[in-house]
């Protein structure tokens, strides 16, 4: 196979080579592996609590069919029963005591018979337990938590974009003493996971009097080293002559930043925006530590109230997890075309 075909993006050719098949095969496997679990999550979120526990797990949400039978006030669960003579019959179960079940034919409800529990198979049908979604939404102040999360995410992203681009501007366009030290310092902070400085940051936030305010969630993470790094690398590839020309026109440095560099860096800014939205939306540990009043809760904290000491209510947890995925996915869909261009010029020089 030609080198050009394999390694560059320009290709003619109408025949499909074996490498094409291999490539498509790899990609399809990738889709299955990457997306499959998420689809599984979404489907499972519609199952009832009991059916979430059963094995083998069904792909689609199923629950047992029920029928209203005259003479009984509650609908009876339906089973296929193997009768002693070998024939199969559809019957409803009245009650189960020990190893025997009292079953009744829906068409002849006054003649119940006793059947051993091993002789019956439940009849299932596709059923979406939408109560998994509606119950919690009705139960707790979902709109308030959503509002908090949206506020935090948007404000934090704006602040991040602003101050990181300013810092990146300084570090990429200028040569000044202390530039390398600043670079090392900023990148050095990449190595510190939040868990490790959780308590000291908590102390700082307490002494600033920010506890319980959403600003306690917004501010500490606003300056991200990854953001500065990404933007700086991108800005270093911008043509300098534009900047020189602007300086000759007596533009202030601020105007150079705001009117030239920033608009030209849109792809990289878009990438940072996606990441910032993603990080802020998914943040859990830090907001949990710093927000004690439920009016300030973000969505992630609210959802995790489903984890008690001894029980986890999976059905609600799964449903709410799916819900929180939707906004991030939407942002991603809109901004994703920027990603390759945004990252394209970073890390190279």
């Amino acid at each position: 196979m030609s080198v050009v075909e394999a390694l560059s993006r320009t290709r003619g050719g109408k025949r499909l080579h074996w490498t094409d098949y291999a490539a498509y095969g790899y990609l399809v496997l990738g889709v299955f592996l990457m997306f499959g679990p998420v689809v599984w999550l979404a489907l499972s979120s519609f199952k009832t609590q009991a059916s979430l526990l059963e094995f083998p797990p069904t792909l689609l949400p199923m629950s047992q069919k029920e029928a209203v039978v005259s003479g009984y006030d509650k609908p009876l669960p339906l089973f296929t029963v193997t009768l002693p003579d070998g024939s199969k019959k559809l019957m409803g179960q009245v009650r189960r005591v020990g190893l025997q079940a009292q079953m009744v034919d829906p068409n002849a409800p006054d003649k119940p018979i006793n059947v051993a529990i091993g002789q019956r198979q439940p009849i299932r049908e596709l059923a979406f337990a939408t109560s998994n979604y509606t119950d919690p939404l009705r139960q707790f102040a979902f709109t308030r938590y959503l509002g908090n999360s949206v506020f935090v995410t948007i404000v934090a992203t704006i602040i991040t974009l602003l101050i990181n681009s300013m810092a990146a501007f300084a570090l990429s366009i200028y040569e000044f003493p202390g530039r390398n030290a600043a670079m090392v310092g900023i990148i050095g902070t990449l190595m510190i996971p939040i868990t490790v400085i959780l308590v000291p940051v908590y102390l700082v936030v307490t002494s600033l009097g920010l506890i319980n305010s959403l600003w306690a969630v917004i501010l500490p993470g606003a300056a991200t080293p990854t953001g500065v790094f990404l933007l700086r690398q991108y800005m270093m590839t911008l043509p300098r002559d534009l900047i020189e020309a602007a300086r000759m026109d007596k533009a202030s440095e601020w105007q150079i930043y705001a009117r030239i560099v920033l608009p030209l860096s849109l792809p990289a800014l878009a990438v940072l925006a996606i990441f910032s939205v993603m990080w802020r939306w998914n943040e859990f540990l830090w907001p949990l530590a710093v927000l004690t009043k439920s009016e300030s809760y973000t969505l992630q904290i609210g959802l995790n109230a489903f984890q008690g000491e001894l029980q986890v209510q999976w059905q609600y947890l799964l449903a709410m997890t799916v819900l929180t995925l939707i906004p991030v996915s939407l942002v991603f869909v809109f901004l994703q075309r920027f990603i390759t261009t945004g990252i394209a010029n970073t890390g190279l020089k």
Binding site: F55, G308, L310, Q311
Partner: protein, 425 residues
């Protein structure tokens, strides 16, 4: 009747708008976690309180249990905290609790009905404080899947059976019906030490200091480790997570995969809701050993926090919530065993409970009377969580094959000594 599982601040907003605000309101905050429907129940009850007392408004912050255990202590240490909180680690939080005695109308009522449990909430050396009340009392004890026993044709061992009897029976049952877990025990030091006490462990020495490793304790450890080798217990529960991480087996039990599940009375509400009558689940008395036939007491308490700015208002809320009628309603709806001596004697009505649940609650109610003094002492010890964690972490390592029993004993002792020393600095 739809069973809801959480209360909410949204309902509160509605209540607020409906309440006549004639007086300036005192704002109180309560941090609460739920295993089942307690959040919903307490919200209802608080609503009724607010209707009777329009000058007090209580906001309930529902949090995951993780927040109670890990973040609340940090918040309390920083001087930021709610006015009231539902906590489980009574000894650990005791130094932040407010003594309500000066603000209560009838301290005698509290002494009479919550007496033995108040000891759990007091700091060492304090004998008079009244910081709060038990939202429920829990007792550890085994649940049995009677249907599996019937299917296997094995008789249930009697009330005074030993752990060995149960192990034999459970293994027989599991082999016959192909269940993967003959015996399942919650991965918790609290559960295990109850069994150890039954096997003769004394936990404390004559001076009241921890002396965990003794013959009874060793007997219990060897019994459980032996079960893992012989297949009576599966490595999956105790051996699959690290340190003192909690791992319950309620999902496996609900799925009819367990013959005997050693857990406790707090599971009843969940079992009632999710198992229904898919199979007969029954509570049985704690098996006997040379030491006792005991389980471990426990439970969560709603306590007042020292940093509150409105101790009088807090006292009024607590008095209402702990009154016999209200507590009976709470425990009755949440399917809890009451931690109130008066109610214990009278019995609580469980209007929403199925016959299976009522029976189980009755068995556990009777178990309360059989709890051994050593178990009470352990539960009341301020640093008991250190002991639970150390025991579970090291025995878990033995089960996972990471260390040997003798090393585990040494480590348990040194872990406990080191952590208590750090605490006392």
């Amino acid at each position: 009747m739809k069973l809801r599982t959480l209360g909410c601040a949204g309902v509160f907003a509605l209540t607020m708008s409906m309440t006549q605000l004639a007086v300036a309101q005192t704002q109180l905050r309560m941090t609460w976690y739920s295993d089942g429907n307690e959040g919903e129940v307490i919200t209802d009850i608080i609503r009724k309180f607010e209707a009777k007392n329009p000058d007090i408004r209580v906001t309930i912050d529902q949090v995951p249990f993780k927040a109670i255990n890990e973040t609340l202590p940090v918040q309390l240490a920083a001087g930021e905290g709610p006015d009231m909180a539902r906590v489980v680690d009574l000894g650990g939080v005791s130094r932040y609790m407010l003594d309500l005695r000066p603000f209560l109308k009838d301290p005698g009522y509290w002494e009479k009905n919550f007496g033995p449990f108040l000891i759990w909430m007091r700091e060492p050396g304090n004998t008079t404080a009244i910081p709060g009340y038990m939202t429920q009392l829990t007792v550890t004890g085994p649940f049995v899947n009677k249907t599996l026993f019937e299917q296997a044709g094995v008789a249930l061992p009697g009330d005074k059976a030993s752990w060995d009897d149960w192990a034999k029976a459970a293994k027989q049952v599991a082999d016959k019906v192909q269940a993967p877990f003959p015996i399942a025990i919650d991965r918790s030091g609290h559960r295990f030490l109850g069994m150890a006490i039954s096997e003769g462990a004394k936990i404390f020495d004559a001076k009241g200091e921890p002396a965990v490793i003794d013959d009874g304790f060793k007997r219990a450890v060897e019994m459980v480790v032996g079960w893992h080798t012989s297949g009576v217990m599966s490595k999956e529960l105790w051996g699959s997570v690290s340190g003192a991480t909690y791992r319950g087996a309620n999902d496996e039990f609900k799925n009819a995969q367990v013959a005997l599940y050693m857990s406790g009375s707090w599971q009843i509400a969940q079992f009632d809701k999710t198992i229904g009558n898919a199979f007969d689940w029954v509570a049985v008395p704690n098996p006997c050993g040379p030491g006792a036939c005991t389980g471990m007491p426990g439970g969560a308490a709603l306590v007042a926090i020292k940093t509150t700015k409105n101790p009088q208002a807090v006292a009024r809320v607590m008095e209402y919530l702990s009154s016999e009628e209200v507590l009976a309603e709470f425990d009755g709806r949440a399917l809890f065993v009451p931690g109130h001596l008066g109610l214990s004697a009278k019995g609580v009505d469980y209007p929403n409970a199925s016959p299976l649940a009522k029976a189980a609650l009755g068995v556990f109610g009777k178990e309360v009377g059989k709890i051994s003094p050593a178990a009470y002492q352990l539960q009341g010890y301020t640093y008991n969580r250190i002991i639970f964690n150390a025991v579970m972490s090291r025995v878990g390592q033995v089960v996972a094959g990471e260390s040997k029993v003798d090393e585990a004993y040494k480590r348990i002792e040194s872990d406990i000594a080191q952590q208590i020393a750090e605490r006392k600095k």
